[in-house]
């Protein structure tokens, strides 16, 4: 057993409603860049809760979870602030990462590309066993039977045979299930999933979302899921955090945010979705494109693309509560009270 594993073993039954994971004030930049790619981001997930982080490419959502897993190369990224709390373990991300004994067991991660994140040279079973043996120190035979049980649990038919197959023998959806099985093998309290369904077809995506929902209900783990698809958010999330340009611009319970969207970016994203209503009509757009990190404006980073921007937007709006548990970072929220559109 790894030497620091023992003192980390706390009771898996946390009081319900407590924060299984809490990230506070993470700021980080890449060496040579003038601006932070992640700017004062705080996220938290209670046990049994699914938090979706939604945003477009380059909004810093993946970098955020890479940082909290300690997966960023320390020589190219500078973390200037950030505190991570998992259970009762607290880590100052500026000079520490989550202990190795916790990564992969208490906190597990599923990556986006099931095609590239499995090692093509090893059998599925060996790859799952590796994480089990690493964290619990059991014998291989025991680990294998645990691996088989995990495959069964994520809905893979014929698990005893699949254990001895290589990744190339599996389809994309099955590989993603294997990734999930691997992440769940050590009963994590927190599962971090980076676009777990993006590479998959919609019928397979529905199966994987069903699986994640089932696991949340049966194990009570908390899930942080990164996605760019608002449909997926509506389908699976309890709470949602919308990111733009490395900042959280809005967060809250999913129904509340969808029924009462406050930030112009959230409103823009929702109305830009080609959907089932108003076919054929022109879609509302978010004008322009995301500025590069070097060209990020001061203050509200969305202001260069925002139709409602004004002078005050050069000052960064604080993320403040506008409705119970619903925070937004916009000087003009709620919009209808502060702006008028004519013409």
């Amino acid at each position: 057993m790894p030497k620091d594993a023992k003192d980390l073993q706390i009771s898996p039954q946390e009081p319900p409603g407590s924060c299984a994971m809490e990230l506070a004030g993470l700021s980080l930049r890449f060496r040579g860049q003038p601006n932070d790619v992640v700017d004062d981001v705080s996220l938290s997930a209670k046990s049994g809760e699914v938090l979706c982080v939604v945003g477009e490419s380059g909004c810093g959502k993946s970098v955020t979870v890479m940082a909290l897993m300690g997966l960023l190369p320390p020589d190219s990224s500078i973390i200037s602030s950030g505190n991570l709390k998992v259970g009762d373990k607290e880590v100052d991300l500026r000079h520490d990462t989550l202990p190795r004994a916790m990564r992969g067991s208490r906190v597990a991660m599923v990556f986006q590309e099931p095609m590239t994140s499995l090692n093509p040279a090893f059998r599925i079973g060996d790859q799952i066993c590796e994480t089990i043996i690493r964290h619990s120190g059991v014998l291989r035979r025991e680990a294998l039977s645990r691996a088989e049980e995990m495959l069964q649990r994520v809905g893979i038919a014929n698990p005893s045979q699949r254990l001895f197959e290589y990744p190339h023998q599996l389809s994309g959806g099955m590989r993603q299930r294997v990734m999930i099985a691997m992440a769940l093998a050590n009963d994590p309290q927190v599962l971090i999933a980076d676009e777990p369904t993006t590479a998959l077809d919609v019928t397979i995506q529905a199966q994987i979302l069903d699986l994640i929902r089932d696991l949340r209900d049966t194990t009570g783990m908390s899930t942080i899921m990164i996605t760019h698809d608002l449909g997926v958010v509506a389908e699976i999330a309890d709470r949602v955090a919308v990111m733009y340009g490395g900042q959280v611009v809005e967060q809250g319970p999913v129904r509340e945010v969808f029924d009462n969207p406050q930030h112009p970016y959230t409103i823009g994203l929702m109305s830009a979705m080609p959907g089932l209503d108003r076919p054929g009509e022109r879609l509302a757009i978010v004008p322009g494109t995301v500025p590069t990190i070097a060209n990020m404006p001061e203050g509200c980073r969305f202001r260069t693309r925002c139709a409602f921007a004004a002078g005050i937007c050069a000052q960064r709006p604080p993320l403040s509560e506008i409705a119970p548990q619903h925070d937004v970072a916009c000087h003009f929220a709620p919009l209808e009270d502060s702006v008028e559109v004519t013409g």
Partner: protein
Amino acid sequence: MKQDVILEAIDVVKYFGTDAGWMSRGPVIQAVAGVSLEVRRGETFAIVGESGCGKSTLARVLMRLLTPTSGDVLFDGRQVSAIQGAELRTLRRDMQFIFQDPFSSLNPRMTVARLVAEPLEIHAPELSVQERRDRVAQLLRQVGLRAEHADRYPHEFSGGQRQRIGIARALASGPKLIIGDEPVSALDVSVQAQVINLLGDLSRDLGLTLVIIAHDLGVIRHMSDRVAVMYLGRIVEIGATEQVFTDPKHPYTQALLAAIPSMDGPVTDHSATVHGEMPSPSDPPPGCRFHTRCPHAQDLCKTKTPQLAAAQDGSHQVACHFAETLQRPHLPQTAPRKSKTAEARFALYRAATEGGTVTHKTHQDDP
């Protein structure tokens, strides 16, 4: 009736691996297994299906980027599958392609001006240098790029802008029909909306016929007039988009629609969801190709291949033995439920982005 058809596929079959040499005796991949369809002039026609269903192969056969194993493609009444030389060049002028990946489909060493001028050099060699330059500027304007963009290289552009360059290239020869293979799926939602609007404007203003290949049902519903649903090399359902989306008759279409994540929260009806995955096109199941995953499959489905036929209510065509007797699943509401507050803000947002004047009531420090 017949002359308003611009593109027609007649029983198109495309197998890969049939002409295997002595080195490769791999299995034959039945990518497209007998597809007939008609695309009408001026409409937007969509082909939808999951990866591996043969939709991209079909698009390439329609374009004559691939020659069909058997069957015919007619463009404007001309047979496409056999022509060569000057005739093929004319066809290329009338029919253009937009590729999925704006990052790999543009030559990184050419400026935008050269990229867009290239098709002009081939299809309109009579233009003088000045005329060609003017035409390039006009094309760039048409797709929403500025004239000064002409001297830049592709790497200086974002994904959405690159896709616009690809569209400008496709428009350069003055085509009648454009086939887009997943033209917006590599783009972020906000940028995707811009490109969808652009394609809609172009098809309306230039009278273009669009054939859109996509897997995103939201995009299809929004853009297309008619849609064909493909599964494992065959069309299982084809008809007016509105009809197919509101009254899907094939179990696969029903499953696809039920699998769209709904903005209304978790779906409650799981009766239509399918299990398992699409079989390999090198060894498709006999009979109805969907029977291995179909929740309603019966013995007949395992042996007899259903043909595409008009449904009894005459609305559209479906290839299922039991299309008439199947129970309709509960599908997500056509329009997602939206709160009054959200609706009001969407309207405000739309007005502001579409050129309305914004006045701030509370903050007077507006410059």
